[in-house]
Symmetry: C2
Subunit: 366 residues, 2 copies
Amino acid sequence: MQKMMIHYNDVPIYPIVLSENFDALGEALDDLMIKDRKVCIVTDSHVADFYLEQVEHIVKEHCAAASHFIFPAGEESKTLTTVENLYEFLIQNKFERKDMLVALGGGVVGDLTGFTAATYLRGIRFIQIPTSLLAQVDSSIGGKTGVDFRAYKNMVGAFHQPKLVYSCAETLKTLTSQQYISGLGEIIKHGLIKDAAYYEWLKAHKEAILARDTQTVIDMIAVSCHIKKEVVENDPEEAGERALLNFGHTLGHAVEKLMNFTMLHGECVAVGMHAAAWLSMEKGMLTEAAYKDITDTIVSFGLPVSVKGLEPEQIVAVSKSDKKMDKGRVKFILLDPEGHAVIDRSIRDEQLLAAASVIVRNGEQS
Amino acid sequence: MQKMMIHYNDVPIYPIVLSENFDALGEALDDLMIKDRKVCIVTDSHVADFYLEQVEHIVKEHCAAASHFIFPAGEESKTLTTVENLYEFLIQNKFERKDMLVALGGGVVGDLTGFTAATYLRGIRFIQIPTSLLAQVDSSIGGKTGVDFRAYKNMVGAFHQPKLVYSCAETLKTLTSQQYISGLGEIIKHGLIKDAAYYEWLKAHKEAILARDTQTVIDMIAVSCHIKKEVVENDPEEAGERALLNFGHTLGHAVEKLMNFTMLHGECVAVGMHAAAWLSMEKGMLTEAAYKDITDTIVSFGLPVSVKGLEPEQIVAVSKSDKKMDKGRVKFILLDPEGHAVIDRSIRDEQLLAAASVIVRNGEQS
């Protein structure tokens, strides 16, 4: 078991616990003083089948009353309608300000549960039990919550910090290969933007990582969580440095949306990282060898570097409607030669279009 | 003009400006650095007729682009549906994270605009220009935002602090007598819970207050804002002392809901204060003379102390479904002999019922 603490302004805010299984969950819950409080476990229809019974059994022993709310698995559930159904459930079950929610699942469950917790009775507590690799290294940490609104992804949301993140390596065993590999997209990103040694370590341990060797996976999650932790601690509400985590996301989000969420988030980030690395090379910040190494690495982990069936113009248009805009300009994240990410506000439309062309022209590579 | 600053943890957060008219608004806007940002003025159909043109003219001169969003006046607009329409407007007009909303209107406009600002793109800035007496002395200060959800009042919301509160005494002239007097309900409450001298001052200046004499009104708003400011500074998210502001609200909210919002908020608070004062007397905390003085004062300002057509049992049942519950117990606010409010968690159901009976039995008094 590994444990690290997220601080804001040097004040400890919440622990991240990484464990092989759920054995240490009860102890972590005891620190939250919920003995005489109600707890609702929020999960989706897919994760419920695997882990709800086990988690609810543990939660029940550490609070006054445990209940659960299950919604249909999938991005299409991440809406205000699902949030409203959850409000209704909480009201019917008389949840009060000091009661708590548990988000048991991947990114959709975490984002939606966090947003409900942020806005029910002007904010109640919640904890994250992320079950996907992507959620364990990325979305469960840092307090970003939200839902999709009509055609717009994550336009509605709030910053609301969890009281605990409990990641259990065991849950990764039940992911499909595609879901697991999608999580590696964000992990490669962590190496690229912040830690060249970690990036090399990932390449060196590729076999064990892809085989989901428990200890290797826990070590990997620990480093990725540590990188994410440092960035969000320095910039809780994305006023500056936190934007670096958007490496690969500017065009990646556009691809995700245009593909109608048929590709997984980490896959789209991989494609977006390719475009961003190419643009870094075009601007003279990366060598061709470094650019080539990045695309080779992405491909070697089983992730795509391009997409079929989209037009570069569409990708640019959708990117420009994203929320990561400032006075109408895209905040693009590039890589510099020292293996650091930097924010670039000078990307012109024709450069964006050229980068988008790089990721659609070689359909056969994906 | 008067100005005071709200601090949290000794850090200045936002100013409250009290002015006779809108002449100082431009200068206050300049401090917000919105010269190259978009601003959307949110208001209702009633307030728009009186003040939108004037305010939009000033805002337009201090930002890059001003627009407005008008929704139908009334509590029935304070819903997630109106919020969703506002999200759509902001998305269509490409509002970004550093752009700003202006809430121009009474409590409904402020609560709804604040909640939209709290949740659009995970939070953008907003300012309050409260135009009702109630909003100027109460709802515009302290960062409580929210909407009604289905049958449940204010169950959905967030704490989100405005960047400026600009109150203009001129706007009070266009309130109906009933609306103006409703605001006095919260003002009398401020005297009762925190400042016996202010309560006496209110009684002594009754004629000038009811005549809406500009200087008297500004002095009154300043003291009430100061009382509200001190309470919310000590307890931004209602973990403790802030609950004292709920004096009169436990049964008052229940009455408001049961009367289907045909009575104004301050009127319901007045009725609730009567019940709470009576309960304070019953518990030996107030003398009969003090209790009588409170009801006489409420009545002398034209506010009701009782309601017709409700059953005490209904009032108790609805009170107990309110969000101000802790482990199933009502947190009731009572008055003590020194003119201070205290939180009481020991009120039994039969005492609640007796207090509810006091405010329904004398229908002819209201």
